[in-house]
Amino acid sequence: MIPQGLLYTNEHEWVKLDGAVGTVGITDHAQSALGDITFVELPPAGKALSKGDEACVVESCKAAASVYTPADGSVTEGNAAVDEDPSLVNSDPYGQGWLYKIAFTDAGALAGLMNAEQYAQFLEEQEH
């Protein structure tokens, strides 16, 4: 259920690292909690973000949630497909529903994030 090879944050974001560039999205748990997603505000390419900055806002029928930046970097691309069809975040959160790509200043700063097993454990603990 939780894909291997990605890094996970406490805020239910995932990061897929390819060299120094990370692709960021929200987890299946997060999309399910939000419900039907109706709008995504994406960061413009070139935007400089610091760790903890709000990178995106995801709106659903019931709520709105911020997506935070996992480490300092510069946005390289927002996912135009989710701008067009926000329901991709619900239907394919780890695939076509990715949100943005960011070139990290130091990818080593992601060392504190969780792997799939740790995130599964984290979710389990949150439920209790």
């Binding site: 419900g35 039907d36 109706t38 709008f39 505000e41 709106e59 029928c61 019931k62 926000p86 329901s87």
Partner: protein
């Protein structure tokens, strides 16, 4: 203390997400707000509305008494008909919005909101004389479900064992039997689609709900879809568009204020009508999907001119839409305004009400 409706266990079995709504644990969604919304517009859905109050008001002279406390002209209301209206304070502010149903010459049912049930009850008791009897049916176990959608009649008809609700026009009401159980059915709702509200004793209502759920094509729907459906129809939500600080004139609901009788708040409304309102409720939609929120400021030429009362994604329109109060000179359809959400400025356009115009609620031939 949060209360559970008689259908609570059913909602859990159906996998609903439950929220606290005015002290009631109610389903906000089952499979998802968008799917439930669309199914109501194209098929048929069932809402649990057991949190709403139902007051049975009977006795000699009851029509005259109700006519002096409700905006609805109870004396002019025919048996078997119902009408939307308000309980107002002396200043014309809205204490609640209600549907008054005439079941008999001297027998009325008043359906009220959950959050205002207790205050309505006290207010009515203080205004009605001892010649009439008021019974809170909800306190004695009566409940309600709303069956809504273009397929509502064909879904309901096979369950009805006495009477034919198909004979009722929009806002008709009567006593029927479903599955051999006594119930009151009105052709009313909060979605803009053809639909019926079914009121019955709790156990009977559970049996009717189960039968509906076992019917092909019927889906349950939650508060999320209920809100987006009513917003597209520009139906006010008590607590948002309507409060004791707002009058029905400001909300643009003049049509529900008959001039043929006097009721509490009537004088204040006459004065307001003569003077003109200082704000008016408008419907708006945006070109974007980004939503506005209750409390967001509405701007025109950089100046604050109003406030959003309801905002959200409108699934049938596929854009963000909402309702809000603005200065009266800015209410013409086509007027372009800005909503400031605090993090974005969203251009919106004032639109004619309702926003969704294909609703089936007034359909003459209920068989479709």
């Amino acid at each position: 203390m949060t209360q559970k409706t008689i259908l609570h266990d059913r909602h859990e079995q159906l996998g609903a997400r439950i929220v606290d709504f005015h002290g009631w644990m109610l389903p906000v969604q089952y499979e998802g707000v968008l799917a439930e919304h669309k199914h109501c517009r194209t098929g048929v859905v069932v809402f649990d509305t057991g949190h709403m109050g139902q007051f049975l008001i009977c006795g000699r002279g009851v029509a005259a008494e109700l006519g002096s406390v409700c905006t609805q002209n109870a004396q002019a209301l025919k048996v078997g008909r119902s009408r939307y209206g308000f309980l107002l304070n002396e200043q014309g502010g809205v204490l609640d919005d209600t549907i008054l149903m005439r079941l008999g010459e001297e027998e009325f049912l008043l359906v009220v909101n959950a959050g205002t049930l207790e205050s309505d009850l006290k207010w009515l008791m203080s205004h009605l004389t001892s010649a009439v009897a008021l019974r809170d049916l909800t306190a004695s176990g009566w409940a309600k479900i709303d069956l809504q959608g273009p397929r509502a009649y064909e879904t309901l008809a096979p369950l009805v064992t006495a009477g034919d609700p198909g004979a009722m026009g929009y806002f008709g009401v009567g006593r029927y039997q479903c599955l051999g159980r006594d119930c009151i059915i009105s052709r009313t709702g909060y979605t803009g689609e053809l639909g019926y509200e079914i009121m019955a004793d709790g156990e009977d209502l559970v049996a009717i709900f189960d039968k509906l759920m076992a019917t092909d094509g019927v889906k349950p729907a939650g508060l999320g879809a209920r809100d987006s459906l009513r917003m597209e129809m520009c139906y006010p939500l008590y607590g948002e568009e309507l409060t004791p600080a707002h009058t029905p004139l400001e909300a643009g609901l003049d049509v529900f204020l008959p001039s043929d009788h006097e009721f509490v708040g009537w004088e204040a409304l006459q004065a307001q009508a003569a003077q003109g309102v200082s704000r008016s409720l408008v419907a708006f939609q945006s070109a974007s999907r980004r939503k506005t929120n209750p409390g967001d400021k509405i701007l025109f030429e950089g100046n604050e001119v109003g406030v959003v009362t309801s905002g959200g994604f409108a699934p049938s329109l596929e854009v963000s839409a909402g309702l809000g109060y603005v200065a009266p000179h800015l209410t013409q359809p086509g007027r372009e305004l800005i909503v400031n959400t605090g993090r974005a400025e969203i251009p919106v356009t004032v639109c004619e009400k309702p926003l969704y115009k294909q609703g089936t609620c007034r359909r003459k031939d209920v068989r479709g």
